[in-house]
Symmetry: C2
Subunit: 384 residues, 2 copies
């Protein structure tokens, strides 16, 4: 098992310093296979989004082919994956002019970098940079299919203005149906998947009529990736958080609780004498993140700041992290805790509310397979 960390005897979950990030290899593999198999059957290429995993070890498992196409959310990720051999990288955030120099450095290092713009000024900056540096960008135009984050509307006049500014640097269109996270059912995900597909087709057809051939038609989000809409004409699908799963993905029906591959290992550090329903752990806002996405979900599906498992990953019914301070988490049980359970020094594992920010607080994964033995330490790249 590859690792960039020094080789040494690997510990067990009882021995790790807490808090830290635990990754179940079996669940990860199952999540990866489910996605790869579904997309293979549908005949659509997968460009896994590494924004959650940020790890070469995971990227190797997530790509159907060695060093296959990947998506990243920061240029630091692009540089890290380039350093480890990847050559087809889509930086799926609108490229500001301030990032052109690093993009050029990646391209000069041999990366077939896909960049994205949604504004004439950004397109003009790409064109000017390409001329100045005597190279050609592969730049897609971001399409807003309804999330209203970035992107131009597929029927907007800006679409053609931007394509003309890009000229030979134009490579296609991309969208992200992030509004899928507001849906709660397969029907809802299917509806958004159809919207994503329609938006790209509309944009690509208008561009085609104006003389611009789209090499890339890229779309996706974890909830919309596994539904069955017709993807004819779409060239690739992006998804990321499906690798890990989390309480929010479970809550909206995009994965099962048993699919969640990521947890934070924590130690019980407090058992207040006068509060028999509560204990404190050494994982707080920093180790779990302050993301409380599941607060919009009702009752049992509201994870607070995380569901509580024992050391073997068994969910403890009703227990949640309900409050976090910087380095403390408060676990509340619906019934008074037994004296012998969750004692000082005992260890628990917390399933994250939202995998992406939880993972981002940590610099590595401790990987477990079928037991409490750590079978590997996998790297992460954080920051920008």
């Amino acid at each position: 098992m590859s690792s960039t960390f020094p080789q040494r005897p690997l510990p067990t979950l009882e021995q790790l310093s807490t808090p830290c990030l635990v990754l179940e290899r079996g669940k990860l593999a199952r999540n990866l296979i489910r996605m790869a198999a579904a997309l293979s059957i549908r005949g659509i290429g997968l460009r896994p989004h590494l924004k959650t995993a940020k790890s070469v070890e995971i990227a190797r498992l997530a790509s159907p082919t060695p060093f296959g196409p990947i998506t990243v959310s920061t240029l630091r990720e692009a540089e890290y994956f380039s350093h480890h051999g990847w050559r087809d990288i889509f930086y799926a955030v609108g490229l500001g002019p301030g990032k052109l120099a690093r993009a050029v450095a990646l391209m000069r290092a041999g990366v077939r970098l896909v960049t994205m713009v949604d504004h004439p000024d950004a397109a003009a900056a790409v064109r000017d940079c390409a001329r100045r540096e005597r190279l050609s960008f592969r730049t897609v135009i971001e399409i807003d299919c309804g999330e209203h984050r970035g992107g131009v509307l597929p029927d907007s006049s800006e679409l053609l203005v931007i394509a003309r500014l890009l000229g030979s640097n134009f490579a296609g269109v991309a969208t992200h149906g992030g509004q899928s996270y507001g849906e709660r059912s397969r029907e809802g995900f299917t509806r958004v998947a159809q919207v994503e597909t329609d938006a790209l087709r509309t944009a690509a057809a208008r561009l085609h009529a104006a003389g611009f051939q789209s090499e890339i038609l890229s779309l996706g989000s974890s909830p919309t990736a596994l539904v069955g809409v017709d993807l004819a004409g779409i060239t690739e699908l992006r998804a990321g958080v499906y690798m890990m799963g989390d309480a929010f993905q479970t809550g909206i029906g995009a994965c099962a609780m048993d699919d969640i591959a990521l947890s934070v290992l924590a130690e019980v550090i407090g058992r207040p004498a006068n509060r028999p329903h509560e204990f404190l752990i050494d994982a707080g806002a920093f180790a779990l993140s302050k993301d409380s996405s599941t607060a919009v979900l009702a009752g049992e599906r509201n994870a607070g700041f995380g569901f509580v498992c024992d050391l073997d990953g068994q969910v403890q019914p009703g227990l949640r992290v309900t409050k976090v301070w910087q380095e403390h988490g408060l676990v509340v049980s619906p019934t008074p805790l037994l004296a012998g359970a969750f004692r000082i020094g005992d260890r628990v594992r917390i399933l994250p509310n939202h995998a992406c920010p939880t993972a981002a607080a940590h610099d590595r994964y401790f990987v477990v397979a079928a037991s409490r033995e750590v079978v590997g330490e996998w790297t992460r790249v954080n920051g920008w």
Copy 2:
């Protein structure tokens, strides 16, 4: 100016890769001096809490004496400061038995480590470890003065049970009036400061009567640190976020907007054609954090995910980051934006809602003094 990063020509704010953390040295110095002067006048020792700054360069400025006593929130901080020469370090989170080995290693490396417990089982683990390792801990008992996070009540029976278990490892008492963050006025902060002081005195008196002399009576929080309650008998005061300030501290009246020394430098990466009040920046949930503490504050004081400044740090009235995705932040203006303002590629600085988690997303500070020139890169230690 010291730096552990490679020496190279230092950039300007126009040249830095975004997003990144900018620290105004003048405001930092003013915040540090205000605290140091106030405590000096009151005759109380300062044990600055490095949980926000996590930086040796800042710790050097924050301590009234070279390598003076400091407080940390993680053992990794303790190890980092020990490596850089500090010897009197208070790890101010309840010490779980799983952390004893690292605590011992610090003590063997020459650190006079202060540890803290609030449960008989944790105290017994300290005692057993001390015997086994043939060394003596300096362990304080955590007192709950009303925040109901960790700690025993000052009049509880556990207090004496824990002291007896600690035996010669007993060193005193400590509390943190975290409920001060629920107050909104100097009167409120004063009330909590009095509660902190009373709780420690009550606990220390009961311990004294039972034969335990408290070497350390440690308390504090940034809002309660600068009020004028009588601190007779208290040996040290802890505070941390005052170094930086943030929108929440401003909102509750603990600092002024102009005191906020920390900001996140970001680039404008989107100007949606059909949304004239909005622009997108490349600082989102990861670079700013998802902390929305100021949401409980009314109107103007609700910073969303941050107030918006120009490159020189001038607050732009009414502009806020109202929504964040992983790598995108949405800035909304109360009035339509002028075509020439906040163009693609322009840079802004975001004042954080809560300095601690915002800083924790970054691995260094870019320090500015009176201009846009970066005068130093200062380290941070994240993780555990």
